[in-house]
């Protein structure tokens, strides 16, 4: 229990460090917002107007003062307004979140449906024809960039077969399929390998060899012990990948115009819309830290040796 509390307390400085890092980075990387805006509009403005505009945004104050005032607002849920649309960042962000979460869930479901049966078959038929076929496709999925997989899928499913729309802006069943398949294929390709490795590992354990020696039917061993045992590891691995999946949706969302947080981030990046980028950074950080915390804690209860080791030191 004490460990859990310490661990949660440890998370807080990380989140603060991330706020600082992202703030510093944006200030370092970003050109002056005011000047950029004036440049783009092609308006002639006087030096005084420039200074006034900067004062209004607080850009004339020392860096740390800017940071703490920004942080203070952040803690109240005020992430400022977008440089581009002028809308409240937090509201914009919240409005786009459900779409991304939905896409994440559907891709995970798709990945599970595809990769667990295929990964198990691949392990069971190790070095047989089935294994080679599955591994070949997993290689393809693993070695093609997401954007390319998207293009090929679009070409076949939407143009050749005309089954699905290209533009998936609105959230509905019809529109979620293509982005799901694209993300799912890339994920499954990685995941099939992990499932295969886990099951192979389990199959090589002594109890399996023992059971085989005793003449227990292979399918019984497989279903009653091996798969059940493997599933724990498999699900942990899957949980760990939620973080990377939530982050990885950016390019796919942007290609399919799926109106989620990832597309928002890509648009903001190309427009150097720093308040939005910062919101995205915070979101990713929170997700990651949370997922990590949960897995870390679950590991501790699964492997008593780590607990022991920690207590000694």
């Amino acid at each position: 229990m004490k460990y859990i509390i310490t661990r949660i307390i440890q998370v807080i400085p990380i989140l603060f460090a991330i706020t600082f890092l992202s703030f510093a980075m944006m200030r370092l990387a970003g050109s002056d917002v005011v000047e950029q805006k004036m440049l783009n509009t092609g308006q002639v403005i006087s030096e005084n107007q420039l200074i006034a505009a900067k004062q209004e945004l607080g850009l004339d104050r020392p860096f740390l003062v800017q940071y703490f005032s920004w942080l203070g607002k952040l803690l109240h849920g005020d992430m400022g307004t977008s440089y581009v649309s002028g809308m409240n960042v937090f509201d914009t962000f919240i409005s786009k979140l459900p779409a991304t979460i939905l896409l994440t869930i559907s891709s995970i479901v798709f990945t599970v449906i595809i990769s667990i049966p295929l990964g198990i078959s691949s392990a069971v038929y190790q070095n047989k024809f089935t294994d080679y076929v599955i591994r070949f496709f997993s290689f393809i999925g693993n070695s093609l960039p997401n954007f390319f997989v998207s293009l090929v899928l679009m070409y076949f499913l939407a143009i050749k077969l005309r089954w699905l729309p290209i533009i998936c802006r609105e959230v509905n069943l019809n529109n979620i399929i293509m982005p799901t398949i694209t993300l799912g294929i890339a994920m499954s390709a990685k995941y099939i390998r992990q499932v295969r490795a886990t099951v192979l590992d389990e199959l090589s354990k002594d109890y399996v060899i023992g059971a085989k020696a005793r003449g227990v039917k292979f399918s019984t061993i497989l279903w009653n012990s091996v798969i059940r045992q493997s599933l724990v590891t498999i699900i942990t691995l899957l949980a760990l990948s939620i973080g990377s999946l939530l982050g990885g949706t950016a390019i796919v969302e942007s290609i399919f115009m799926w109106d989620g947080v990832g597309k928002m981030a890509v648009d903001a990046i190309s427009m150097r819309d720093y308040p939005i980028i910062q919101a995205y950074v915070m979101w990713m950080a929170i997700i990651y830290v949370m997922v990590n915390l949960v897995t870390d804690l679950s590991y501790r209860f699964l492997d008593p040796r780590i607990r022991l080791g920690d207590a000694q030191s």
Partner: protein, 270 residues
């Protein structure tokens, strides 16, 4: 049988690296020489993989692109696996405050979205493949330090390490004699399998315009620049795509066989 497989894949992986190193001498044409009158030529005996919009020979560009892609990826994986492993071992072995600080820093890196980090690096240092490598390296090392730390923790508590410690080995001897040899295998395998992932990540950055700048040939950016030609001039995008595919497959298979070779468990199943 297993040994033969290992030799074959090691040879193929080496071949790719050699092609990348000696790319300059293997190109049939100058990969940067434009000839607008010969643009978008389909593959033929003259241009094995056709030509691109600027009439440049795709085959030469794929070869020279391999130099950038393969070497950048290998460098990236090399840097992060070595530094990540060292950090992980230190962190796992010594524990305590060091461990806590290192792990929190690695959390920080893992939690920061790579895309945004790459953007910031590109804005500060400018775009380009090598800066993209820097950006990815700065945030990718924790993967290795976590693996190394986990393994170190479990080995540290094993009976034979305890025995060695009782026999009077100091920390460096313990790390050198017992921990490193046991860790190097899994790390090597992780690194091999990571090559494909990192190649993809570099390609993803190129897609967003944060990777290689023209006219530099790099597989990822060649694919992303050529992607609108998938329907009209497919060879422009398929040639680098196939190159990525083949090299990722070879490095992955090599990684797999290395794992099979060093992992005693998988020997038993045979």
């Amino acid at each position: 049988m297993k040994k033969k497989k290992l030799i074959v894949f090691a040879f193929l992986a080496l071949l790719i690296v050699l092609v990348a190193i000696f790319a300059k001498w293997l190109c049939p044409y100058d990969p940067y020489e434009q000839d607008l009158s010969a643009s978008y030529q389909a593959p033929s005996f003259i241009h094995v993989m056709g030509t691109d919009a600027y009439g440049r020979d795709m085959f030469s560009r794929v070869i020279i692109g391999g130099q950038v892609s393969i070497l950048a990826t290998l460098l990236l994986v090399g840097i992060i696996s070595i530094s990540g492993t060292c950090i992980g071992i230190i962190s796992g072995f010594f524990g305590g405050t060091v461990d806590m600080i290192v792990m929190r820093i690695s959390d920080l890196c893992l939690a920061f979205p790579g895309l945004v980090f790459a953007l910031a690096v590109a804005a500060i240092l400018g775009g380009g493949v090598w800066n993209a490598v820097v950006a990815l390296a700065l945030i990718s090392w924790p993967k290795y330090s976590r693996v190394a730390r986990g393994l170190t923790l479990s080995i540290k508590d094993s009976t034979y390490v305890a025995a060695a410690r009782l026999a009077g080995d100091n920390s460096f001897q313990l790390i050198g004699r017992h921990i490193l040899p046991n860790i190097i295998g899994p790390i090597l395998v992780t690194a091999m399998l990571d090559i494909g992932t990192m190649m993809m990540e570099l390609a993803g950055l190129s897609f967003l315009g944060l990777g290689a700048q023209p006219p530099v040939a790099e597989w990822g950016s060649m694919m992303s620049n050529g992607r609108s030609m998938l329907q009209t001039y497919p060879w422009v995008v398929l040639s680098p795509g196939i190159a990525i595919f083949i090299s990722v497959v070879i490095f992955n298979l090599f990684g797999d066989t290395v794992r099979d070779a060093i992992d005693p468990k998988s020997n038993r199943t045979k």
